[in-house]
């Protein structure tokens, strides 16, 4: 790897004296899935967080319960850059299946802690190796084999802590939090930490290249994953009916919601003011959501791409019959037997136009855990206001990984429930109303709910075969009026959806457009382009479909627009092309699709290349970031291991 541009991983000769890199490193831990390393990794991450250093944790796990390789990457960065970074500074090798590849991928000068039997140190001479006899140390702690396995993971936390300077008190605090104050679990884990610390002190050479030092950039902040954030948002947004079907990486959203609702949504008499139901499949899950929305509940489901595919027919009915409901799509790679535990932004086109006929949907795209929280409630509002299915497009990286955030703000705005006529209002109208009558000119008609106690409340819900008064009709004009009005509704939605966030730089010729989790590496890449190359860029972060007027205005102000996204085909770029007309010639695509989160360096390199070369005409360009490397091995484990270094 010849990453001469990398500011954070300057090449050095091993052993050479160097200024310590303070609060800027990436720790990569390779373990076997099911070995219980998750707790240890969380403790490691949280203890850095508690030292005031901005941090992120990414779990890269296989589609497997136990046995296949898994990695956890912690990035600590004093400047708050918490996107994925490709370069590993401190490697912890605990998995024989991947150790060779894990070591091969390191940059010269990196630190590598490894389990003694792996014998890594003979493989390379340009790495600072730290051999640790984990089995022997664990045996000193416990006679129970299962316990030894778990404590082994905590021992490496102690080793890492001692090597890079994480304070013991913070580790203890993190352990207490991890094990929810249960002393029985805390004590052996603390003993394991101390075992690691003692061993490192007595046996391992000190290093001064990467250090964690106390700072104050995380005070008052929280750590949470996007799925839990969305669950909390939905709960405070007054969701009442939730129906779902398990699918990675979305399951934890509804599972969190169940946990939180059981804590905070049980009334004094012990009864629930919500209904959360595990459906028999995604078809039923979305059918229940729409049935509940039709009957006036704030309803939602969560799923991933394959689930969205199954929901397609119902979503079409929801669009035409004008039924509210919220669908969280936690995007991931490929079909069911793709890489279900890897991230992507590959469902953009699918959700934008899901179903038969002329359909286009309102889509909210959170970029942070805070927006997951906020959009969860906002989506419920929009679904009811527009009487239509509304998507929230998250992804595995945002949904399942740990993110640092400002605490969420308690919602002060009242919820918006749209145009629903009560029995009293119907009485005032003398019972004269039309379910699909656009009396306000915004395309949004009034509806009534089943159970409304007025003889004229009822109407018959069916797809598009009806007139403005919900009477069955196959008349061409009725059908066309219906379709045109629904399109008008989508037009109205532009005034309601979250506006893009724009950072306009004076004189910048280059503009970026991105969305979702691409935001994190993109902001870092802009910093790299500015600091390393003096290239100033503007940035528009999309937060919703339909696209609003700000997008075209932004494009007009720049010569070249780089659309950065995590899919192969440039799905959002295509939607932008349709939207922009003549101006689409300015668009260039940067596409990252390895299953791993996009990183800043890949974007920076792509931009530099595309800006410098005359080979790229002023038209749609594609530079695919992270080109696949040559494969020399073909076993499953090794193939997955390759993914780790890509």
């Amino acid at each position: 790897m010849s990453d001469t541009l990398t500011a954070t991983a300057v090449l050095e000769e091993p052993g050479a004296a160097a200024e310590p890199m303070v609060n800027d490193l990436t720790i990569h831990v390779a373990t076997v899935n099911g070995s219980g390393s998750q707790s240890s990794n969380n403790v490691l991450m949280r203890s850095i967080f508690q030292m005031g250093v901005p941090v992120s944790g990414k779990n890269m796990f296989p589609s497997n319960i136990a046995g296949l390789p898994t990695w956890f990457t912690i990035r600590a960065n004093k400047d708050g850059w918490i996107a994925r970074k490709k370069e590993v500074d401190l490697m912890v090798c605990m998995n024989a299946q991947t150790a060779r590849d894990d070591v091969d991928a390191l940059l010269p000068g990196a630190l590598c802690i490894y389990d003694a039997p792996l014998g890594c140190k003979s493989w390379r001479s340009d790495i600072n190796f730290y051999e640790v006899p984990f089995a022997k140390l664990a045996a000193e702690l416990s006679t129970d084999s299962r316990m030894r396995k778990l404590l082994t993971n905590m021992i490496y936390v102690g080793i890492v802590a001692e090597l890079i300077g994480i304070e013991r008190d913070e580790i203890l605090a993190a352990i207490t939090k991890q094990f929810k104050g249960k002393q029985k679990a805390i004590d052996p884990n603390v003993a394991a930490i101390d075992k690691g610390v003692e061993y490192a002190k007595a046996n391992l050479p000190r290093q001064n290249r990467w250090r964690i030092e106390r700072m104050n950039k995380t005070a008052g902040k929280i750590i949470i994953d996007g799925n839990a954030a969305a669950a909390i948002g939905a709960m405070f947004g007054g969701v009442t009916v939730v129906t779902w079907y398990p699918i990675t990486p979305s399951s934890s959203l509804c599972e969190s919601l169940i946990d939180y609702c059981r804590r905070f949504r049980i009334e004094k008499d012990g009864r629930a003011n919500f209904a959360i139901v595990q459906a028999e499949d995604e078809l039923a899950a979305v059918g229940m959501v729409l049935g509940a929305g039709w009957a006036g509940a704030r309803s939602m489901t969560s799923t991933a791409g394959p689930g969205v595919s199954l929901m397609a027919e119902f979503i079409g009915l929801g669009y035409y019959a004008e039924l509210p409901g919220v669908i969280w799509d936690i995007q991931r790679v490929g079909p069911s037997t793709g890489l279900p535990t890897r991230t992507a932004q590959g469902d953009v086109n699918q959700v934008a136009y899901l179903s038969h006929g002329d359909t286009q949907h309102i889509v909210l795209i959170p970029s942070s855990v805070k927006e997951c929280f906020e959009f969860a409630s906002e989506a419920l509002d929009l679904a009811e206001i527009f009487q239509t299915p509304v998507f929230c497009l998250s992804d595995l990286d945002l949904g399942m990984n740990n993110w640092m955030s400002e605490p969420f703000d308690y919602p002060t705005e009242p919820i918006r429930r749209g145009k629903v006529l009560s029995a009293e209002q119907l009485a005032q109208l003398g019972g004269k109303w039309g379910r699909y009558n656009d009396v306000d000119g915004d395309g949004i008609p009034y509806r009534t709910l089943p159970g409304t106690d007025h003889p004229d409340a009822a109407y018959f819900t069916r797809g598009s075969g009806h007139d403005a008064f919900a009477r069955y009709s196959e008349r061409p004009d009725d059908y066309k009026n219906n379709l045109d009005r629904i399109a008008r509704k989508f037009e109205t939605a532009k005034q309601y959806v979250p506006k893009p966030v724009i950072d306009q730089r004076d004189g910048a010729k280059i503009g970026f457009i991105a969305y979702g989790t691409t935001d994190f590496p993109l902001e870092e890449s802009r910093h790299q382009l500015s600091a390393e190359r003096g290239i100033e860029t503007s940035y528009l972060r999309l937060r919703a479909l339909p696209l609003t007027d700000e997008v075209a205005q932004f494009v007009a102000k720049h010569d070249r627009i780089y659309v950065v996204e995590q899919n192969r085909d440039g799905q959002m770029a295509d939607i932008l092309r349709l939207h922009l007309g003549e101006e689409q010639r300015k668009l260039r695509k940067i596409l990252h699709y390895t299953g791993l989160p996009c990183d800043a360096r890949s974007i920076t390199e792509a931009v530099v290349k595309m800006e410098a070369s005359a080979e790229y005409p002023e038209m749609l360009l594609v530079v695919r970031a992270d080109p696949p490397k040559k494969r020399v091995t073909t076993t499953v484990a090794q193939t997955i291991a390759r993914g780790a270094e890509d």
């Binding site: 007054g238 949504r265 059918g287 009822a458």
Partner: protein
């Protein structure tokens, strides 16, 4: 005698207890073929809801896709209706009931809609015991797509085109019993008196009621060689019992020979009276029900009546332990936890 109870339901007054007329329960004009069994069922639905004095505003009608699924437009115009997608009305009805468990849900499906594409959802609705009156208008063919066999067509049954069905039929009543449904009945569109009492019992039942109604398709499945035709059904109809229904507020003196009458009290206090035609049949025994269904199927009989009754089983709404008010109408003051709750969560995450 059982006849006395049958008499009370037959004596329909001009207004029901809500002061509504039978016409207040009518629907739009049917667009089905003249003589369609489905229309006969719609008429009995109107009658049952009227005579039971159910407020039509409280009712929500659901259906899937097919001829049968069009019928909710032909009864109870004052009730909200929802014509959903093929085979997946149970999900829509389930969602609506979760949103408002005060509504009285009636679903009308067909054998194509339920026994093929909708089999999964049908079974899970029954398994959950969602409070839905689920009617299968069973004619053994796909009518709306012009006469293909459905999965309830009998083995050896002949299509108009001469095609013979060589696959065994599904018995949706047996399936419902197997899944623990608390109210399973089979009716015949040509027997309105039995039909209306089955429906009344279903209205009073708490939980899923599965009512499989043999409803001949006069256009595509009423010919010789069909086992779902009017003549065939009339000839092979095997009555399990005569059914009487007594509403909770009615006081009826019943005299009957000991052992010839079975009485079951339903959720709302109403009573189902079954005059036994078979001495050894117990409709509250799932094993008896399955045995009798299998025997009838083997003998080529069309068993009608209340096949299985188990009114005590908890409905899904009971199990959810939700608040008494419909969830859809809860104000945000109740569904949004206080600021202290968010503060607590945030502190935990710090």
């Amino acid at each position: 005698m059982a006849e006395s109870t049958l008499k009370t339901t037959a004596e329909a007054p001009k207004e029901n207890r809500l002061g509504l007329k039978a016409t207040d329960y009518s629907g739009g004009k049917s667009t089905l073929c003249a003589g369609c069994g489905h229309d006969a069922i719609s008429n009995q639905i109107i009658r049952a809801f009227y005579e039971m004095s159910v407020s039509p505003e409280r009712v929500a009608k659901f259906s899937g896709i097919g001829c049968s699924s069009k019928t909710p437009a032909y009864f109870l115009s004052r009730s909200h209706g929802f014509n959903a997608v093929h085979g997946r009305m149970p999900a829509v009805a389930t969602g609506a009931i979760l949103a408002n468990h005060k509504i009285l849900a009636i679903g009308v499906s067909g054998d194509g809609d339920t026994a093929s594409i909708g089999l999964g959802q049908f079974m899970h609705m029954v398994r959950r015991n969602m409070p839905v009156i689920y009617i299968i208008e069973n004619n053994g063919v796909y009518g709306l797509t012009k006469g293909q066999f459905s999965a309830t067509a009998d083995e050896g049954s002949k299509l108009k085109t001469g095609v013979i069905n060589d696959l065994p039929p599904m018995d949706l009543c047996a399936l419902a019993v197997e899944l623990g449904c608390g109210y399973v009945a089979r009716g015949f569109a040509g027997d309105p008196k039995q039909m209306v009492n089955i429906l009344k019992g279903a209205i009073a039942h708490n939980g899923t009621s599965v009512i499989d109604v043999i409803s001949p398709c006069v256009t595509f499945n009423n010919h010789e060689g069909s086992t779902k035709s009017y003549p065939y059904a009339k000839e092979h109809d095997e009555l399990l019992h005569q059914i009487g229904f007594v509403q909770s507020y009615e006081q009826i003196e019943i005299e009957y020979e000991p052992g010839t009458m079975k009485e079951v009290t339903l959720h709302d206090g109403s009573r189902i009276l079954l005059k036994k035609l078979e001495e050894d049949y117990d409709p509250t025994s799932a094993i008896d029900a399955l045995q009798r269904l299998h025997r009838a199927n083997t003998a080529g009989q069309m068993l009608t009546g209340l096949v299985y009754l188990q009114p005590e089983k908890k409905s899904f709404i009971d199990l959810l332990n939700v608040v008494d008010e419909p969830l859809n109408l809860l104000p945000i003051e109740r569904t949004r936890p206080p600021k202290e709750a968010l503060d607590k969560i945030m502190t935990e995450l710090m």
